[in-house]
Symmetry: D2
Amino acid sequence: MGIMRMGYAHVRVTDMTEAKNHYASTLGLYETLEDTSPEGNKRVFYKGWDEWDHHSVVLEEGGVGVVKYGWKVEHEADIDDVEAKAKAFGLTVERMSKGDNPEIGDGIRFVTPSEHVFEVYHQATAIGTEVGTHNPEVFPRHLVGIGAPALDHSLITTEDVGTMERMLSDVFGFYATERVQTSLEDDHECVGTWMTSNNQIHQLAVIGGPQGKLHHFAFRLDDWNSVGRAADLMTMDDVPIDIGPTRHGITRGQTVYFFDPSGNRNEVFSGGYLAFPDRPRHVWTVDQIGKGIFYHDRELNERFTTVLT
Amino acid sequence: MGIMRMGYAHVRVTDMTEAKNHYASTLGLYETLEDTSPEGNKRVFYKGWDEWDHHSVVLEEGGVGVVKYGWKVEHEADIDDVEAKAKAFGLTVERMSKGDNPEIGDGIRFVTPSEHVFEVYHQATAIGTEVGTHNPEVFPRHLVGIGAPALDHSLITTEDVGTMERMLSDVFGFYATERVQTSLEDDHECVGTWMTSNNQIHQLAVIGGPQGKLHHFAFRLDDWNSVGRAADLMTMDDVPIDIGPTRHGITRGQTVYFFDPSGNRNEVFSGGYLAFPDRPRHVWTVDQIGKGIFYHDRELNERFTTVLT
Amino acid sequence: MGIMRMGYAHVRVTDMTEAKNHYASTLGLYETLEDTSPEGNKRVFYKGWDEWDHHSVVLEEGGVGVVKYGWKVEHEADIDDVEAKAKAFGLTVERMSKGDNPEIGDGIRFVTPSEHVFEVYHQATAIGTEVGTHNPEVFPRHLVGIGAPALDHSLITTEDVGTMERMLSDVFGFYATERVQTSLEDDHECVGTWMTSNNQIHQLAVIGGPQGKLHHFAFRLDDWNSVGRAADLMTMDDVPIDIGPTRHGITRGQTVYFFDPSGNRNEVFSGGYLAFPDRPRHVWTVDQIGKGIFYHDRELNERFTTVLT
Amino acid sequence: MGIMRMGYAHVRVTDMTEAKNHYASTLGLYETLEDTSPEGNKRVFYKGWDEWDHHSVVLEEGGVGVVKYGWKVEHEADIDDVEAKAKAFGLTVERMSKGDNPEIGDGIRFVTPSEHVFEVYHQATAIGTEVGTHNPEVFPRHLVGIGAPALDHSLITTEDVGTMERMLSDVFGFYATERVQTSLEDDHECVGTWMTSNNQIHQLAVIGGPQGKLHHFAFRLDDWNSVGRAADLMTMDDVPIDIGPTRHGITRGQTVYFFDPSGNRNEVFSGGYLAFPDRPRHVWTVDQIGKGIFYHDRELNERFTTVLT
């Protein structure tokens, strides 16, 4: 099967106290571990209420941007398979040991053509959810703030979208559900690509921009109502909103973009449609990119292309 | 990859005129073909607005209940793979020819231990959607009635749930996201199982009951708001509601059960959560089955176990 | 102007500890006072988060059913006006003193033809809301359970609906927004009437039944989403649901009926439409009362007419 | 009782063909009359699906901005009462004859201190709604586009907000539910006022700006879901969105501001809370006006204060 989902996003924050307030009190993530990295940086690990693995978000003090992404594979053997494909693609792969990341098993690590660090693993400590698995209630009785259930996806930038799309396809078995192209006919000039290996409308999207940068990482919400309520809570908590509540044309998702106290862009995301590999790809042309990204405003704000971490 | 999704549900209806009114005007499906079966029965083919293959629902005049289900595989070679596994399971498999079903390619056909007919195919005529794939709008401007986007899943009955679960696991690569058991510990006594091969919380569920029967087949809606509006429209259109709007504890889905004019049970379904094979299975005990099925009422109505077609 | 709104519903509960759990933890009302009545009964006073007067619900230990309703008038002089009209209607009116009800000013009290006690007052201690009135947030950051914003309306029974409707019209200046009649033409046989003095679709509804009984009193919610979430929380808190989530044909409101631990029926209610005195009245015939009350089920459950307190 | 509600908004449009497309196809209003004004201008009359009077919106070709507002009073005698109060306030009042406006009875007309024309009337031809009043369905089966149920309120500008607020209070019996002031203490410097005579959170709001100008007029929707869907449809129909979907801090309403083809600003509005004259007024200070107007963005866009018609 290959990649099952984005297991964790590990990001840098400038100030851990502010960051904890944001991710725990406003987003309502559950803190599962606080430690110090081998380099001596404070780290805090979080999961959403509907995630059962030990963590899906790691904050590390010192700077901004993404440190790395963890990708969970379905079977132990998938690690070797991905490794072989990564090497075949020309990537330099190193082995990652159990414990390199707390509560995460061994696996592999490589730097993508976009200069992002990817880790691939199979094992994570399952700590379960508050509602449990035996005759479970449909959500926990006492959620905090937005109460985000789970990490959903991320958007990154690279100077060469086409190569990154090829890598995700060849190595991870991803397919593009939506694309922004300079023309409908010529799919070689890919300005942005929304990719997935499963039925999530995207697990990782890639657009043109500097190497190694984070555009945003997103949390999944139930519906438009939750998206609206999240925006209300952001105002109460003085969280800067980038845009929204609004809708994306691309993915059809309903969304708020906002910033954590360090300036990393977050998103709450709901809706979208079920992706299938045989579903005809949605193709957007560059002249309609405004509508594709922000369906209601129909034009990009300047921050969309310039504010990255 | 094996099974990608339930591609079509082919059901019998007693009166085609009434049935067309229900599936086209109330549910808002798009009629894509009307023909006569080799046996001389009227047939009508439908798809939801967000489906691109030729049809997902087939109505055939004469009786009630399910004729067969079509399962679409990702790759042509998956057909052979499923065939081999089906034979290994002890099933009698026959080849199905292109044109046995209009606009559907060749494949295989077998009768399940539950006495339901399954067809497995790879090719279907892609006819696309009203919004298209080039800079598409997020939904069609003029939907009819409920405007159901897509077929979602089905629930069938069998005398031996355990064997059927094993077949779906061994032959289709399905896994159970939720189960009803006589006890938490002993998973041998499986009273019901909700199974999937992808991130849909279920593609096919199986509960104890007579062989070969249909409990319901379901259409996917966006959210709780759409579910409530669907119930309003059913009242306007004199569609008998079985139960709902309400929620399932099992799958967390939000739902209305209702009947087509022939007495086949339909469902509109939204929500649920993303299924993953590593997600700890939800297990319900029989004493909590009322809450599991109808989360708000917390007890089954008599129809749930007795009205089948 | 006359009656501004139902200011409080004062009801009996058999067990105060259980009742407090229900009204405070599940419904999320704010306790504003606990005292002992002159008769020696424990009492607890509550308000919703979006109410500014001292209380809107009073629980008094000992039995079930409604003790009395308080109706707040806009101007001090309205009390005298209502008194005069009540006497003209033939009712026996007594003066009520400041302090007869904690934090409520003086006014009048009378027994209606339906044998319910009504109090009319102008002054109540304003204690405000958690969000305040100066650059207020749109809701409190930390609501409990359902977080009901406010008391909305009540439904009572009487042997003579027509007389009660006339009293509410003549004395309170109410008008009927919707009615159930034995025929469309003959409005003398009124089986039920939904009445208001303002733009709320109803403040008090009256249906045929025993004298002096409570059918339910209701809390206002924002929308269908809140109604659905309320039902989920009731399941988590083991609150018996009578019916719902569903919709009323009458008032178009979206609703859950449920019971407090003493057996008094509560409702959460959203939607409806703005009432205006010049709006043509909705008239329902008895043969359609099922659809009028429960729009989706289209038939009354037996409890609707028999379970009263 | 005085003023019951804003009965109609009569506005100018530059091109009637474009305007009809907007108000009928996108907003889904029902055209009830097309005629030519005494001055020879084309006029089209509309009502929302849930309004029973002949019209609530009048479009007149030639220019932009508001021609006049019609205010409906509950009783015939209220016209004289308002006339007396208007004269006492120092306004010049003229009598308006039945037929000055099609399907509207006689009444009075005066120019406000803000230089807007107000008409006050009691009688309008009741043409009812598609669902009728006898065992009515909860909404019409076939709505077009946004399907706006009703006109809700308007916002106008004037050089002297304080005087206009006093006029609305003295002549119309309105009270301010929310206000923007230069300070919390000093209520003499009123920058904006949101006023009503009933439980609608506002019927008319007034902010500082040029005399006689229209900021927007608004249609009522059911909920946040309808607001989001309305924004989607605006995109499909190429309607320029000013801002939204978002929320107002003032009124708590959920909203989209958008422009008709002539440049008049419209709004779809849902939510808000029930106004009562004894409810403590919400007071916003000028430094928080951004949050008051656009709760999520927390700052005004330039258009808010400059684009008027």
